[in-house]
């Protein structure tokens, strides 16, 4: 697993650099000069824009969007597919439930930071129920008892506190984000590292580093396994444009509640 993770990281970094450097060499020689199209955007000035999101970093973002497509295609999805192939479905669900249960901690402190009583209670109830009756989080029994999973992160907390979203940004591997959600992600990740270290979960013996790496790898695979989105699967030429809009809209809705 360790080795697999390391070569995975190396490959992804190499592709990331390749993606940054590419895109400069397109041949437009030997082509006759451009002629104006029959219809142009000038005709649309009498109407409002729709589905539009301001995107000052679009050049970087589009390149990252494409990079993520290739990273998925050549590295991440093959790993996820192998995982799905060799692991019984019941176990896959158990793994997802396990990591989702750990994620409740994040939802809990962010609900508290946003002073959301009901969400905090439900999340706390879920965490306690699933960690005990659900055997360490392997089963989502809380859901069957009517406690639906909530989702809060520090990006949403910042939003509730009135921090603006900042520009849209497509991160390598992580995909669509805003500056605010990226900040939130970093804070949540930092908090998690602090909690894991503070509780000394992996212990101090020789194996601990290897175990931690294996768990991290498994969590990464499970995360992608749970996300159904596939870059460019729609073949819709304006997919980037649509995804950007849907992402922003969905975050706005999430912050509202």
């Amino acid at each position: 697993m360790m080795l697999a993770l390391r070569s995975l990281v190396q490959l992804v970094v190499a592709m990331y650099l390749a993606a940054l450097l590419s895109g400069c060499a397109t041949t437009t020689a030997n082509l006759p000069p451009e002629e104006p199209a029959m219809h142009s955007v000038a005709e649309s000035v009498d109407d409002e824009k729709m589905l539009y999101v301001d995107d000052p970093w679009i050049n970087f973002n589009k390149r990252m969007y494409t990079f993520n497509y290739y990273a998925d295609k050549y590295v991440i999805l093959p790993v996820v597919r192998s995982y799905e192939f060799i692991t019984p479905e019941l176990m896959q669900d158990g793994v997802s439930n396990f990591f989702n249960n750990i994620g409740e901690v994040k939802t809990l402190y962010n609900s508290l930071l946003q002073a959301k009583g009901k969400k905090s209670l439900v999340t706390f109830g879920r965490f306690v129920t699933n960690s005990t009756i659900g055997i360490g989080g392997l089963f989502d029994v809380a859901k069957k008892m009517g406690m639906e999973r909530q989702s809060e992160d520090f990006g949403q907390t910042l939003g509730v506190w009135g921090v603006g979203s900042g520009p849209y940004v497509v991160l390598p591997i992580l995909g669509p984000n805003t500056v605010r959600s990226t900040t939130g992600f970093l804070v949540d990740t930092g908090a998690r590292i602090a909690i894991v270290d503070g509780l000394n979960i992996y212990g101090d013996d020789d194996e601990s580093g290897a175990i931690e790496a294996a768990v991290t790898t498994l969590e990464f695979i499970d995360t992608r396994h749970q996300i159904k989105f596939r870059y460019y699967k729609t073949h819709y030429p304006f997919e980037y444009f649509m995804v950007r809009y849907l992402y922003k809209q969905q975050r706005e809705f999430a912050i509202m509640k």
Binding site: E35, H235, F238
Partner: protein
Amino acid sequence: MKISALLLMLLLLLPVAGEATDGGYGYPIPGSYAATIIGTPEALRIEKPANISMKELLLEIYPDRKKPDIFFYDEGLVCNFAYQKNKAPLAFLIAGAGSDYDSDKLKYMMYGLYKAGYHVIALSSPTHPNFIVSASKDSVPGDLTLDAADLYNVMEKAWAAVKDDIEISDFVLAGYSLGGTQAAYVAKLDDERKIFNFKKVVMINPAVNLYDSIQRIEALLDGIPGGSRKIGLFFNRILDKFTEFYRSGDYIAINDQFLYDVYKAGLVSQDEAGGIIGLSFRIGSAGMIFTSDVMTNGGYVVPKNRVLKASDPLADYFRVSVRLSFIDYFNEYFFPYMQKKQPGLTKERLIAEEGLKNIEGYLKGNQKLSAMLNENDFIVDDADRAYLKQLFGERTKLYPRGGHLGNLEYRQNMVDMVDLIKILDEKGGAK
């Protein structure tokens, strides 16, 4: 995430008119637009097969074709393939305008047929960008004869790709909406080519004439404030309503409960519901228009001879393309293109050719073909429905409601489809 996810949410903002049941037909949504938008509630759909063996096929239809840089992710035509272990008939399915092989409607047709023992290959519409780039000979969709030839070619390649792995007894064919109309043309072509010898062909909510149907769809935008020139404004106002409703209610997420409440609250008017349908067609056609224009260097929405890079922003092209109606496409792009192929072609003749009347001699009384229609489907009118009934006689199923395709996934509809497609032996018994 589906491109249509948000639209779907918006589509659910509809007035409700109370549940309807009559004549033993249990599909519950009475309004035409509401049914079209909401479709079939999950609990009323046919159940998925407990086990289904399926995979995606990637077909290289034109291996030597040089694809434009911006379609770098297009590596061939993708289709769904579901297969039985034993010898069985193979059903080809054709999606409706702008839809792909993996659309919900096609999937549920696949489930229905798979449970009845068929192998299934599900194909994207010739108007879908993947088909235009990878499988269309000319990359200009809209002509029933040419699109049927492309579909037939794809079916031959798909068959070649799977025939060593499965045993096939017979071939059948079904399509919905535009795909239904195309199925009739594919069946006619098959009568000449005799590769598949389709035993049965089912058309679900087909257009009788394409030009008539696109006019009816475009007319849905006439009812919004300012008409079709203000679709951006319209979209933003509808979104505001939706947002406000979400903000004010006790919701924790955009889930089924929220959507159902939105539906019950009657948040949008009938005109607005029509506008939402018209707009969702426009969003689909924008993809078709842009893709075809890039493929042919047609100079319609992209300047002629411009080479787009994968990283180029396309927002302006979206804005231009979504503003064009199907009728604009027909008059300004499709008709001139067809005229170049057939000098002397008039617009009137082209319009007349793009429909079922054009192949009436083949269709009339042909026992192979059948149609499933809804009394309140707005892409056809009463004369069209009467015409289809006259063509297919008792092989026409007419439902009291369902709008356009809203009841397709409904249990009884899928049972009826399987029944219509059933291959009978000489004596009329099930084979």
